[in-house]
Structures are given as C-alpha cells and as structure tokens.
C-alpha cells in the first residue's frame, strides 16, 4: 500500500458571512482515500456558554457533477459516525471560554480504511467535485459577545491522496447520505424506505434530543424486507446503543466550561458514567 500524501486544499479560509453554504471545488485529478474537514469559530468577548460548535454545522456535503450528492450529513451525525468508525473522536475543542477558538474535525472516508486501493475517490472520473459546508453560527448561540464572534467561521480541507505515480484503479467509492430526518412524536412507528439506487453497506440511526434518557423517544428499531416479512434487525434502542459503543477505544470528550454552580450542559455523550474536572481557574473572592 503506497504511503498517502496530505494535500491541503484550503487552509483556515475565514468567512465574513455567519450564515452561508461554503463551497470549494476539489482538483480535477487525483485519487483520494479520504477528505478531512476542519472548522474553527472564535468565541465572543464574554463567553459562549453551552455553545457547541457541532450545532453550527448544518450539513457537510460532497456534490458530484453539480447535482449528485454522494455525501450529505450534519455535523452532529458525521462527528458520531467518525467516532464510531475510528474508535475515538476526531479532534474536538469545545470551549466556552471568552475569545478562545473552538475547533472540530471531520473525516469523509471514500474507502474502507485509509489507503484502501479498491474503494476510493478518483477525481478524474468527474467533471466537478465540490465540497459544501452549510453552516450557521446562530445555531451555536446568538452571534456576539456571549456567543460565536461574527466573521470567524474558518474551514480547512485536507485530502489524503495517493501519490501521482501510484494511483490505484478504484472499483468503487463509498458515499454517506442522510436520507430521512424528522421530529419524533409521542407514539407510533416511523417507517421509512431505504434508497435503492446503489448497494447499501452500513446503516446509522440517530435520535438526538437534550435532557431525555436514551431509549425513551425511540424505544425499538427494526429493519426488514417486504413490509418486515423478513427482518434482519429487531431490537431495543438500548441494546443497539450498547453494541455501537462496545467497539470504542475512547469514550471521553473534553470540554472547557465556564462554570457557575448548578448549571446544566448538553453534551455529545449520554449515559454519562463520570465527569472528571482536570483544571480549575477562578478568581478568588477577597
């Protein structure tokens, strides 16, 4: 397997707009095994309490030939999928502290692993491949002194590329698409059909809500053929979550919090087993 090269496509490209779809065309030649996308936002001059940068990434997409979305997922979704597939979270700096930079990275894999010579993205096969990042700083917190600072959204895009002399002949590439989203209701089964244009490899399910125990808003999940005449999965949410987390090497996120007593925080982790305070800095009353 050839050693991959890291190709910086754009580096901390600071945007003046706080609400937009950032678009960046990829090169028209080259073979990529994965694409890393980093996003930075600076906190305001007072604080950014409970302002998770993940909430500001509405969607990350990869658009082929102008209209074919082969990747289209939210920041919250991709962060979790990356964590599951890699066993540990991508670099993630969630900070509430004034004027500090929050940063999170995502990986869009085109193969089964970095350096896969069977599955990958061959850019020469397309007229145009464009990265799209649909972002909104107001989804993090109100823009200003107590939220993200205006005009500080800055994406970075880095490709994991095969050397020009060792480009493989890929058989296929892997895409990742959110094909349905909705708000849950109090009862009943929400049934959706899968896309059927391409072979399906993995399914990821999400039930994102604050301050509700896991397995409450969705209690059971089933997947099956022919109106569930033949099921391949029929299980409780809490069992499926256990399986999803059993393979992880790292189950911890680090968050820098501007703490006042008895406040709450909403986190990307749930079923929290423990919280360890590493470092405390505060002004002593005199």
């Amino acid at each position: 397997m050839p050693k991959l090269e890291r190709v910086v496509i754009v580096n901390r490209d600071t945007q003046t707009s706080d609400l937009a779809v950032y678009k960046k065309d990829l090169p028209t030649a080259g073979c990529f095994s994965a694409l890393d996308i980093g996003v930075r936002v600076t906190n305001g001059g007072t604080s950014n309490v409970n302002g998770d940068i993940l909430n500001g990434i509405k969607h990350i997409g990869l658009v082929f030939n102008g209209n074919q979305y082969r990747v289209w997922v939210t920041g919250q979704e991709l962060f979790r999928i990356n964590w599951y597939k890699q066993g540990q979270p991508m670099p993630y700096n969630f900070s509430e502290i004034l004027s500090e930079v929050q940063e999170v990275w995502f990986r869009i894999p085109f193969g089964r692993f970095l350096g896969d010579t069977v599955y990958g993205l061959d850019l020469s096969r397309f007229n145009n491949v464009q990265v799209q990042i649909d972002y909104g700083l107001a989804s993090i917190n109100a823009v200003g002194a107590t939220g993200p600072l205006t005009g500080t959204f800055a994406p970075t895009i880095i490709g994991h590329a095969f050397p020009a002399a060792q480009r493989p002949s890929f058989r296929s590439m892997i895409g990742l698409r959110e094909f349905y989203t909705a708000t849950s209701v109090a009862s009943g089964e929400n049934v959706q059909s899968f896309p059927s244009q391409n072979p399906l490899a993995n399914y990821y399910g999400f039930c994102l809500v604050n301050n509700v125990a896991e397995g409450t808003d969705v209690t059971d999940v089933r997947i099956g053929f022919d109106m569930f005449a033949r099921t391949v999965l029929n299980d409780k949410w809490y069992n499926l979550q256990t399986y999803a987390n059993a393979v992880l090497d790292e189950r911890t996120v680090i968050v820098k919090i501007l703490l006042a007593d008895a406040q709450t925080r909403d986190l990307p982790v749930s079923n929290i087993k423990c919280a360890v305070a590493n470092e405390v800095t505060w002004t002593v009353p005199t």
Binding site: E178, A182, S193, A201, Y203, A277
Partner: protein, 102 residues
C-alpha cells in the same frame, strides 16, 4: 489561587446528554480546617465526560473484508427501517453508507 481557598467542582444528576455541574469554594485558615463558603461563578473548568456516543446506533449490512452482506439495489427496493417512538421532539435521522461503482 490564594492560600486558604479551594474550589470544589463536580457533577450532579445526568439525564441523557444533559449533566448538572456544581462548583463551590471553601475558605478558612488551614489550621482550623476549611469552612464551606459560597457557590462559585465564572470558574473555568476543564471537564472530561465519559459515556456513550449520544443518540447513535448502527447496523452494518456488509462485511467490508469480503463484501458479503451488501444489500443490492433490487433487494433494497423493499428494505425499510422502523423506529418505535416513545416521546416527542427528538430529531430522528437515517444515514446510509452506499457503494458507488465507477
């Protein structure tokens, strides 16, 4: 931090992904022991939270080493996923990993 003061921080009850965090200070002469003082505000704390990936499940169709298990388009036409709902206001989403041939 001035001598004679300590900060005590911790975590209270958790529900799902929401944690209640607590902080208090103690003050007093070391010889007399520390005396509980006021709840703190504006305290910078680096927390490590350990738990599960919140609101996330997965089901792999294929074995990536062999390719066995891929749901081919003809079969996928009748494939469905059902979520039994027990509460309102959660954001539900389905994401699929697909194979695009060249």
């Amino acid at each position: 931090m001035a001598a004679g003061y300590i900060a005590i921080v911790g975590m209270g009850a958790c529900t799902g992904n929401r944690a209640i965090l607590h902080g208090a200070s103690s003050a007093g002469a070391a010889a007399a022991g520390f005396v509980p003082s006021l709840a703190i505000t504006g305290c910078t704390v680096q927390y490590q939270f350990t738990g599960d990936i919140g609101g996330f499940i997965t089901y792999p169709f294929w074995d990536p080493d062999t390719g066995i298990g891929l749901v081919m388009p003809n079969d996928a036409k009748t494939l469905q996923v059902g979520m039994t709902q027990g509460g309102a206001s959660a954001t539900l989403a389905h994401v699929i990993e697909e194979i695009y041939d060249y």
